[in-house]
């Protein structure tokens, strides 16, 4: 990106960079990387668990869901951030909700037109992005008080943190539950001939919770920042 090292001339409507901060300064990079680990929406903040349980049976819907959430979060974060000085304080939650809902309906319609199979598989969960706590949480906690570019990064970062866990959980559930990945069989027939069986329990929601739990355990044992003092 050529702009990266050029200081921006004047604060514009879209990039309010008062400190003439580069686009990918350390702080901005942290907006992307923090939600991946230290401040992961699922494993650390324990938000968005419902969809993490519901659509992680297979890898493909999990990937599409992650992309959809990313589109919705980035777009609604940007819109709320643009409007942050215009939104009347008393109805800000309603405004956030309307913006998120509008974005979700857009994603829903676009999927229905261009990815009909995925739409059929996900339709109810796409609607549920509206209620995904992560989206509203980031609008309220971040986009209302930060500039457009930062909000955009924050949206992408948090959606990536969410999607990363979603895809990882789906990977293990589809692999161990049905012996497939993306719908293709990966565990060779020879294994089944030797007595290997798919674990049907992996396909049920409780194992999603347990898988997420194992991730949290693994993450906390490695990341010192997350270890509680007492």
């Amino acid at each position: 990106m050529a702009k990266e090292n050029q200081p921006l001339k004047k604060p514009t409507l879209f990039f309010v960079n008062k400190d003439k901060e580069p686009l990918f300064s350390k702080k901005n990079r942290a907006l992307l990387s923090d939600p991946m680990d230290d401040n992961n929406p699922i494993t650390v903040q324990v938000l968005g668990i419902c969809s993490a349980l519901a659509i992680t049976v297979q890898l493909k819907p999990a990937i599409v869901m992650s992309i959809s959430v990313m589109a919705v979060m980035a777009a609604s974060n940007v819109i709320i951030s643009l409007l942050r000085n215009l939104i009347p304080n008393r109805i800000r939650i309603i405004v956030q909700l309307v913006v998120v809902a509008a974005m979700v309906v857009l994603v829903d319609q676009v999927l229905k037109a261009f990815a009909y199979d995925v739409y059929k598989e996900l339709s109810i969960f796409i609607g549920l992005i509206i209620t995904n706590c992560i989206v509203m949480g980031r609008l309220e906690a971040f986009a209302l008080g930060n500039g457009v570019w930062k909000s955009f990064l924050d949206g992408i970062g948090n959606a990536a943190g969410y999607g990363f866990i979603l895809i990882a959980v789906a990977f293990f559930r589809e692999l161990l539950g049905s012996g497939k990945l993306m719908g293709y069989q990966v565990i060779p027939d020879a294994f089944y001939a030797m007595g290997y069986e798919n674990n049907g329990l992996m396909l049920l929601s409780p194992m999603a919770l347990i898988t997420v739990g194992i991730f949290i355990w693994f993450q906390r044992s490695r990341n010192r920042k997350l270890i509680e003092k007492n």
């Binding site: 939104i87 009347p88 304080n89 405004v95 319609q109 229905k112 037109a113 261009f114 199979d117 109810i124």
Partner: protein, 260 residues
């Protein structure tokens, strides 16, 4: 303008609603054709899959035109209404009309000189509509295949009616009994034949936890098929002539049963 004043709040809300509503309306209109096309092709896919032809959406139209030889819109007495395009009949709208104004779409397929009759189904599940297609072999009795779909049945329970393993249970079942009475297919919880070996019992094994959806499937079969009985009666192949009389009686009885 004071951002906390009531006037500003109202103004903001009004403008927001206008902008959001018009942008959504624009998107919906712009994408409508493409979405309808998907729905149309999916319908073709579903119809084809009841006669054992699996296809992706791109090829659906071509294969549909190849295999489906006739589209009939039947009147309640079993005759064909030429003025109606059967494929365009929406059961959701049609079933709300009075019986004599309803048209009952029937698709006739020919695969390798074998004839199949495909009946669209529609009924109510637990939460919302359920629908599907059932294909009969040319004896107009034995089920060749069935597909189901639903709007909002419970995922993992009622929604399982869309799964192949459930739909396969219908294959080979008979909708008429030996006397030619319409039995439909009973999705049964007290089936003594869980592996579905008995194809004469007019029963398939239900899904645990999906009682109401299963009952909906049962009701959908007997209600919808009853309307086609007159047509089946008039068009039963000649070699099964003895069945005809029995069918005649049966159709009267089923019609009565339905009206009750």
């Amino acid at each position: 303008m004071n951002r906390d004043s009531n006037a500003y709040t109202f103004l903001f809300a009004a403008v927001m609603v206008l902008v959001v509503a018009s942008s959504l309306a624009f998107t919906a209109t712009a994408l409508k054709d493409k979405q309808n096309e998907n729905v149309r092709k999916e319908k073709m896919q579903n119809i084809l899959s009841t006669i054992g032809i699996q296809t992706d959406r791109d090829q659906a139209e071509e294969l549909y035109n190849q295999y489906i030889t006739q589209e009939l819109a039947l009147v309640a007495d079993g005759s064909n209404d030429e003025s109606v395009q059967a494929f365009k009949v929406e059961l959701a709208i049609e079933t709300k009309k009075p019986l004599e104004q309803q048209r009952f779409p029937l698709y006739v397929a020919e695969v390798e000189a074998e004839k199949f009759y495909i009946v669209p189904l529609r009924g109510a599940g637990l939460w919302d509509a359920i629908w599907g297609y059932v294909a009969l072999e040319d004896d107009m009795n034995t089920i060749k295949g069935a597909v189901f779909d639903h709007k909002g049945e419970t995922a993992g329970l009622g929604a399982e009616i869309t799964q192949g393993w459930f739909q396969d249970r219908f294959v080979g079942e008979k909708i008429f009994n030996a006397e030619g009475e319409l039995m439909g297919i009973n999705v049964s919880k007290t089936n003594n034949d869980p592996s579905g070996l008995d194809k004469e019992d007019h029963e398939v094994d239900a899904i645990s936890g999906a009682t109401i959806t299963g009952d909906g499937v049962t009701a959908m079969f007997s209600e919808r098929l009853a309307h086609y009985t007159p047509y089946f009666k008039n068009n039963t192949p000649v070699e099964e002539a003895p069945l005809e009389e029995a069918l005649e009686q049966a159709s009267e009885e089923t019609t009565i049963a339905y009206q009750n």
